[in-house]
Amino acid sequence: MSLREHLRAIAETEPPPALPEGFFIRSRRRARRRRLAGTGLLAITVVAAGLVVPHGGGPAAVGAAAAPMLSELVGAGLGGPLGWALLAVLLVLLAVLWRELPGRSLLRRLATAAVVGSLLVLAAPPGTALWGEPRGRVGLPDRLAAPESWWSAAELQQSPPGPVALVYSGRATHGNLEEGRLVLLAADGDRYRILDVFSDPLEQLVHEELASTWPVLSPDGRLLSAGGYGVYDLVTGTQVNGPGWESVPRAWSADGKRLARATTDPSDGSQTGWQVQDLASGRTLRTIGYDEPGGGATVALSPDGARIAVEQSDRIAVYPVAGGEPVAWPRDGWRLGDSTAWSPDGRLLVMVRRAACVGCGQPTGPSEVRVVDVETGVTVTGGSFAPLAADVAIRVQGWRAPDQLVVQVGGAVEVFTLGRAAPSRLLTLPAGVSAIEIATSRLAAPLRPAEPATYGPPNLFLWLAVGVCGVPVLLAAATAWSIARRVRGRARRGGDAV
């Protein structure tokens, strides 16, 4: 017998199988389903890519253009319920498309797809919350996150947190290369982001004798002023530019409609006074010049933006923004309690006395806080408080209630209540955190239990590290596998020697 005949004999040892009933119709139906599933998968991928890749105003801006309920769903991009829905649909589609492989039951395929999907979610670095982050929480957390390092947290430009409740910084947030890293906490959940700048905007107050101060956050927590690095919109992650944003805002009205800026001499950049601006129209409402050199660094706008209190050499002057003469009184070494000094009813001002700049190496004494009447400068009843510790940062956050003001005192945030000498503790700052600023609109919010912190999608630096370290490993593994495959194939072929 020839080789052909032997091959035929081998082939005929097994009888041919019978095709199942309805094979033709079922095959065509399966092909139609596959096409449909493939089209659906492609559509979902395109939609997901459009949501994830920031463009123009970012994913939040895309969501805001949709109906309110839809924007709630897609506003977080994949970091929300939409992410879970897409994952579920993706897994089901994969299982459906996969069913054409031989020897696998549908149940096993679904189970395998579910396991793989779960592993993908669980494998995301802790706290990155690749598929979801907390939202919709009300109030300030009773504890701030303090991870070992912030290097893997997402940057605000990469993953905007939306309006924030507070920002903080200190030795614990500054890395070796990130001199001025700020940590931002979202207003509606324990979502943390970072901003890396060379010079920490919050540290200005530590050396307040050497540099002027400004509020880092707008009252609603939507804008962040990083000093010379510009103003960031925390919803879109982009910088705010245009007329009126050339200089740093030095004070905000509580309603966020007006702000105060410093005016400068174009020839040498020295400050010459103050300017109140209406944000909606961009108009300058009032310009106040320095009466004499030595004007103070701090200015505060009343809650309705109708008056502005300025430090002037030896006095505090309160000007009507609409025009007219100020009400002035001697400050006796006291200073305005930062740009948030005005009480909600516009009748009181917080004054602080800091003995010297903190950390400058100069001898200091205890600091003090008091509340005075705007018209007279006289301490109101119950407006005197016990002296505070020496050599600690004092930063007035604002008013929590008509009779309660919030002040950072060293490593804690305290609530000073009129009529009580000693403050009560609102928040203890983590070790290594030396500066905090709470958005004034959140000061009245209740405290809530802190939830596990999330830090956004993996930091770009993390991806760079994975690429630098991972790509060579993958290449080496692929090369080894390819070589092993060739060696095995050569062994099976037996070479040309025969």
Partner: protein, 192 residues
């Protein structure tokens, strides 16, 4: 290779389902033999044949030469990397094999040959089946597998060499080391 399937009736029915079923009835046995030789395992051969017929069913309306298409799918799927990853052909040693229809042959040779075939690579098996079972020329084989004729020649030589290595007792059947086995169509093989 045999000419493509032609519908038996002078006026073939319009219904694609009916035509497909006629095609399956007529050609399954031949296609099954090829599938079994390519895989060496009944279950995998069933899977391979079913895959090929399923694809044919999906494209039935657009096919002028359905049998050529089915065979092409059979051979390309048999050698596809993905399918080979799914498949682990077991080496099953049997003492005896059922006598093939048509009477007694050389069962020991068939057993040895069948076992040796399983130890070839998928491409080597495909080339051997096409060249020595389907009786394809080198050009036809190359076209079907989507490779160059030179590759077919070298794969054939490697395959036969490997078979000689695995089963020296088949040397007489497999012919000279230069790749000209003794078949019922020697002259045809030798000249191609």
């Amino acid at each position: 290779m045999s000419d493509d399937w032609v519908p038996p009736a002078p006026n073939p029915p319009d219904d694609p389902l009916v035509r497909f079923e006629e095609f399956v009835r007529a050609r399954t046995a031949s296609l099954w033999h090829a599938a079994y030789l390519l895989t060496g395992d009944r279950h995998h051969a069933e899977d391979l044949l079913q895959t090929a017929l399923e694809r044919t069913a999906v494209r039935w309306d657009r096919l002028d030469r359905p049998e050529a298409y089915v065979r092409k799918v059979l051979y390309t799927q048999a050698v596809s990397w993905w399918r080979r990853r799914q498949r682990r052909v077991p080496e099953v040693l049997v003492d005896a094999t059922p006598e093939p229809p048509g009477g007694a042959g050389e069962p020991e040779v068939r057993i040895v040959l069948a076992q040796a075939l399983r130890r070839l690579t998928a491409k080597q098996r495909a080339v051997l089946v096409l060249r020595f079972y389907e009786d394809c020329t080198e050009e036809e084989t190359a076209r079907l597998l989507g490779v160059a004729p030179g590759t077919v020649k070298s794969q054939t030589r490697h395959a036969l060499g490997r078979l000689r290595q695995l089963a020296p007792e088949l040397a007489g059947l497999l012919g000279d080391p230069d790749g000209t086995p003794t078949t019922g169509r020697d002259e045809k093989v030798a000249t191609r």
